[in-house]
């Protein structure tokens, strides 16, 4: 009974110590709300699950039909408005709305307060073991607040969208249970006040990602995609764990506050220890954020429902790596090699993924590779020490990429209905089967163009400000000047490729003649309001979201309407308490940014060049694809030669990994199974058994049942004993 009292006092002490005037409103409740949603939806899912299993069994008994009709029946079984299918509609988005409102209240309070140190709230002592003492503690500061706003805000919109998208699915309550659980773990990840708590969230979101990718687990391919994501993430997690071990052996603690305060004095600048820590952290971040060489799981993760792709695999979970680097900014500032590795990995990934996106036909695959590419941009930003720019792009990307995914979801929803209505077995996600959707889906079309212009980096949309800021910082960074000049070139090329493949996607999907088919065309329809309203909100954010972080000189130029923009570098200033230590180290060791691109020119000049080039690419690409006579997927088939084939098959990286890693692992496993397990281990155990059996059989020969034999042996034994005693 004394335990809670103690921790409350501690919490009060912590708040008082911060001495900032920031008094958080029920921060624990923000975390508990999605967990509550998970529990309620989970119970409903269990009820619905057992009920639909019974229904399916009865249906199978009544009419043993073909596979296809059984699936149809399944659709109908799930459809009726039972409590298990109406309650999640309110619980799932409801808890998210409450969590968002609470977060917003905290955010407003933090805005009002002058907060310099993070507010740490410790709930209970989690691992009080000897030298290692870990509290279940959360930390509220500017970085976690921004992340929480994005997670709960965008998360709420995606929950609302899911109502429209998933309501005919028999697994509807299960879907919301997983989605709420994901939000809970994501909040744990960004609010954890030490590495172990963060790691709980880190693993938790991985679990939810796995569950949601394999949501339609009856489909072998989708279940496999879930496993792939899970296993590839485990490789990264080893890196994160190693980093935590080194951190603990160096600092004797795993609390953020203590580590980052002690780091500049404890660690040698550019030393081996801090470089090792940052490289291991990078491995972890690369796993979660789908960077080379661990990016392969993200495109496959598109097997999950589309809102899941929007929430987990575009807006929130995959940005955890960027968050981790920004959170550990002090460490990365102390390790120039580690930071350069982050930036290089980011640039390579950005360019590589962008080239693959050029030749994908599945609308979600284009967006998936685009996400990998944009995550590469964020890594570039945080890698060159522009933490605010990285987080800025994280935020704007959450807006426009969530919008793109949800828009794609609306398109797929419509296509699926149209193809389902006439039982046409075409791929509902292949852009070659779409075309001309702007007529039936006007709002989706407009919103997606906004997001496309935003991601292409065209003024005045959000992406222009965030992406150009990153490119700018990459080009002007030190200390490996030539390296960063190369990275800058790659970033510029990637930005242009982004404009190209996004325009291609839009033209193939929404413009030109419709290729879906005569009968299907009239079934194409605009998505319901629960789906278009979140799209609209995200579209507004995609337009204005970039205006919160505009450098003063840009604000006073044409791009800021000559000083008309209400805010200047708000996000940068807001994050200063988090990044100040890292910025100070950077300034001391490398000097200020050059504020000049590698080939000359100030940022306003380059702003004009960048947006002009992007706009030119958009126009050229639209003319190119509008003039092309696109064939449907069935007519065209796969590209068979040249660079197109190479890009269509994603540079054969999956095949390469299969050959280099998967097959050898399978070979070793098979050896372990057939030789080590079957022959050695099983053989030893079986041999012991066989020997015992044999010995028993031999002993049983002496048990004849003849009384005289026994008496004789008894007498012999007694004589023998006597003999031993006497002799």
């Amino acid at each position: 009974m004394t335990e809670p009292a103690r921790t409350t006092t501690e919490a009060l002490a912590a708040t008082a110590q911060a001495g900032s005037g920031f008094d958080p409103v029920l921060p624990g409740i923000i975390l508990l709300l999605p967990l509550l949603g998970f529990l309620l939806n989970g119970i409903l899912a269990l009820v619905a699950g057992s009920r639909s299993a019974t229904a399916l069994r009865l249906a199978a008994l009544a009419e043993p039909d073909s596979e296809e009709e059984r699936v149809d029946h399944q659709h109908e079984v799930g459809a009726p408005k039972r409590a298990t299918h109406t309650l999640p509609t309110w619980i799932g988005p409801g808890v998210m709305l409450l969590a968002f409102l609470l977060t917003a209240a905290n955010f407003l309070r933090m805005l009002g307060a002058d907060l310099h140190d993070a507010v740490v709230i410790s709930y209970w002592s989690w691992m009080p073991t000897g030298a290692l003492s870990v509290d279940a503690a959360i930390q509220l500061d500017q970085l976690s607040m921004i992340m929480m706003m994005v997670i709960t805000g965008v998360g709420f919109l995606i929950h609302v969208f899911s109502v429209g998208y998933m309501k005919e699915d028999p697994g509807y309550p299960r879907y919301f249970a997983y989605l709420n659980l994901f939000v809970f773990f994501m909040l744990v990840l960004v609010t954890g006040a030490n590495f172990p708590v963060m790691f709980v969230g880190w693993e938790g979101v991985g679990l939810c990602s796995y569950l949601l990718i394999g949501f339609w687990f009856q489909d072998r391919e989708k279940a496999d995609a879930g496993k792939k994501a899970f296993i590839v993430n485990r490789i990264g997690d080893v890196g994160l764990l190693m980093a935590m071990f080194i951190l603990f052996s160096t600092f004797g603690t795993l609390n953020y506050g203590e580590i980052f305060a002690a780091a500049p004095t404890t660690l040698v600048y550019g030393g081996g220890v801090v470089t090792a820590i940052t490289l291991f952290l990078l491995l972890g971040a690369a796993g979660k954020s789908a960077q080379i060489p661990l990016y392969v799981w993200l495109p496959d993760a598109m097997a999950g429902p589309t809102p899941v792709s929007a929430l987990i695999h575009a807006a929130t979970m995959v940005t955890a790596g960027v968050y981790l680097v920004a959170r550990a900014s002090v460490l990365f500032a102390l390790a120039p090699v580690g930071a350069a590795a982050v930036a290089t990995i980011g640039a390579l990934t950005a360019l590589f993924a962008a080239t693959i996106a050029l030749k994908q036909y599945d609308i979600k695959k284009v967006l998936a590779y685009s996400t990998v590419s944009q995550l590469g941009f964020m890594f570039m930003g945080v890698g060159v020490g522009a933490y605010a720019a990285g987080v800025f792009h994280l935020m704007t990307h959450a807006f426009f990429k969530a919008l793109l995914f949800l828009g794609a979801g609306a398109v797929i929803h419509s296509m699926h209905h149209a193809l389902h209505a006439t039982h046409k077995d075409w791929d509902a996600q292949d852009m070659r089967n779409m075309g001309g959707l702007r007529r039936p889906m006007k709002w989706t079309w407009i919103f997606m163009w906004i997001a496309t212009l935003a991601i292409a980096g065209i003024w005045p949309f959000a992406g222009f400000f965030s992406k150009d800021e990153i490119i700018w910082y990459v080009g002007t960074s030190a200390p490996f000047g030539p390296l960063y000049a190369v990275l800058w070139g790659m970033a510029v090329v990637t930005a242009l490729l982004t404009a190209f493949y996004m325009t291609r996607m839009m033209i193939l999907t929404f413009h030109g003649p419709n290729r879906t088919g005569e009968a299907e065309r009239k079934h194409l329809h605009e998505a319901p309001l629960t789906m278009t309203i979140p799209l609209g909100v995200l579209a507004i954010l995609s337009i204005f979201g970039g205006w919160i972080n505009v450098p003063e000189s840009v604000r006073n130029s044409f791009f800021g309407g000559f000083g008309l923009l209400p805010m200047s570098e708000w996000l940068h200033d807001w994050l200063l308490p988090v990044t100040a230590a890292a910025d100070a180290i950077r300034l001391e060791q490398m000097g200020a940014y050059a504020y000049q691109s590698p080939i000359g020119g100030s940022h306003v000049t380059w702003g004009f060049i960048a947006t002009g080039l992007a706009l030119a690419v958009v126009i050229v690409a639209s003319r190119l694809f509008l003039s092309r006579d696109v064939k449907t997927a069935l007519e065209e088939g796969e590209p068979t030669s040249g660079i197109g084939k190479l890009l269509y098959n994603k540079w054969y990286v999956d095949e390469f990994y299969d050959r280099i890693i998967v097959q050898p692992v399978i070979g070793i496993s098979r050896f372990s199974w057939r030789v080590v397990d079957r022959v050695l281990i099983d053989g030893t155990v079986n041999a012991v058994g066989a020997v015992s059996r044999g010995a028993g059989w031999f002993g049983s020969l002496f048990q004849t049942g003849q009384l005289n034999t026994y008496a004789f042996i008894l007498a012999l034994g007694a004589l023998a004993l006597l003999g031993v005693l006497i002799l």
Partner: protein, 97 residues
């Protein structure tokens, strides 16, 4: 005196052992076991004269146990005889693995 008593005891014990090993009649084997017990009793009594009264105490224990054993043993033999109409132990070989 002691030597004679112990020699007699040994002779009786060997006779009893030989009887148990050689004879097949359960009743005879039983009597031979009694003979062995009493051979031991004889040596107990003979030795107690020199080593103290405990030997005689043991004799009483042995006789008590032998009486109980006789009661149980004879009951078993009678039950077996009712079933098999014989007391030849060669016939009783069912109790094995």
């Amino acid at each position: 005196m002691l030597v004679e008593a112990l020699v007699l005891s040994a002779i009786l014990f060997v006779i009893g052992t030989a009887g148990v090993l050689i004879r097949r009649n359960a009743i005879i084997m039983f009597l031979c076991i009694e003979l062995m017990l009493n051979a031991v009793n004889l040596s107990f009594v003979a030795l107690s004269r020199y080593l103290g009264i405990e030997g005689q105490l043991y004799v009483f224990f042995v006789m008590t146990v032998a009486a109980a054993e006789a009661a149980v043993g004879l009951a078993i033999i009678i039950a077996i005889f009712r079933h098999y109409e014989t007391v030849n132990v060669d016939n009783f070989n069912l109790l094995k693995w």
